[in-house]
Amino acid sequence: MIKEKLFKYLTLTAALCSVVFLFGIIFSIFKEGYSIFAEVGFFKFIFGRSWHPTHYPPEFGILPLIVSSILVTAGALLVSVPLGVGSAIYISELAHPKGKEILKPIVELLAGVPSVIYGLFGMAFLGPFISRVFGLPVGLNALNASIILGVMVVPIISSISEDALNLVPRQLIEASYALGANKWETIIRVILPAAKSGVISSIVLGFGRAIGETMVVLMVAGGATSIPRSIFRPVRPMTSAIAAEMGETTMGSSHLHALFGIAIVLFVITFISNLITEWVMRNRGKNGA
């Protein structure tokens, strides 16, 4: 009896730990970060166009960082959505069973490569390649980060989309063939629309992964803090600003609070993207029209 009870409470504690961690994290970033909103002002912090935290007087406008994050993430999705959804369609609908057996684990292996290795690849190979092809002094910029992040996100989009495609009922596919549609028309007109919600949530999840990724952007995005005017400019997304600058701050300084402020913004963005995924998944199939 006592043993059973003990076991129950031990496992309960383990489960509660996650809750404690989550709320602990939320509490601490808000505690450290909220003061910057008061000090600088909400709009000046979010929409301020210059980020010079170590100048005198310092400037804490994080718009360049937000724009960098969005630019790099959007670029990553431009790479990963066609590749991810395309490979999902191939694997689930077109590949021979043997080909599927080989291809699927390889795409999923891509998800297991540590991000620092992606970063190394971007620095050592893709960077020089981009600088040569486009005639730029350095190849560490938004384009480089977009491509590398895009490749990182491919397995997320591919595997979740593939699950969604596999869930499309066989009867719908047969109905389409029976009406004279060929394979291609069936994929475009029936399978993809029926799997729409799963494909969309895979893209939103990929977005969350890309915008939160730190190591790759720290290594290959270049790090400039001005608002980028093109994809060939070096950029500093929010995550790399936090990671790069944390070591330079002193306890209790405004700079430190500002970095926590960035963390709050990032947290809110990823939280919203998770909510969207939840919502899309929950509404799946309710009314497909």
Partner: protein, 252 residues
Amino acid sequence: MVKNELKVEKLNLWFGEKQILKDVTFSIPDKKITAIIGPSGCGKTTLLRCFNRMNDMTDNVKIKGKIILDGCNIYEEKTNLSSLRMKVGMVFQRPNPFPKSIFENVAFGLRVKGFKDKTRLTEIVEKSLKDAWLWNEVKDRLNSSAMELSGGQQQRLCIARALATNPEVILFDEPTSALDPQATAKIEELSVELKNSVTVVQVTHNIGQAARISDYTAFLYLGELVEFGISEKLFTVPQDKRTEEYLGGKFG
């Protein structure tokens, strides 16, 4: 003299090593209802799916023999599957409308064909829905989702969808097995009406249904065509002992 729409000649079908259909030969008369009956696993659905070559999609399938439609063997290599399936429509066991609007469900076959004329498309959708006895129930909500319809309505929508490509033959694969008695009665009446314009081939394991609506009946047992003839005759004086036993409920 009965005109024949479909001729089945020495049709054999294997899934892997297993032979499902054995030397099936018979002719399906034009503009009549032909029922295919038999115990589960006798191959009746497989036979039905031969008429629009739906079995082609199954792995490891081997088919020998001929099915003649409009003077051509549909199992010839040059057969265009897409136009075959527009000529030979199919309605499935469970209603399977697409998660699209009612209008788009009916328009599907024509859209696939690349049909662009909007006015004509609207006319055909309306006519198909009328022919499937669904028009009055849905005419005010053609743009709502087909998923909002009841099971019986969905099945009639699937019939309208099959009618829209102006087929010569419609295959019904136990179309009422998922429906309540009222919806079933309506579909039965509808198929009797349909034979004025198309040839109907219907698989059913409901003997009563076959007796009520069909003009001709084929009894299939273990992949063999045991008996084929005018329904009235087959149900009252079956020629083969196995038919008699099946109708008498000895197996099934």
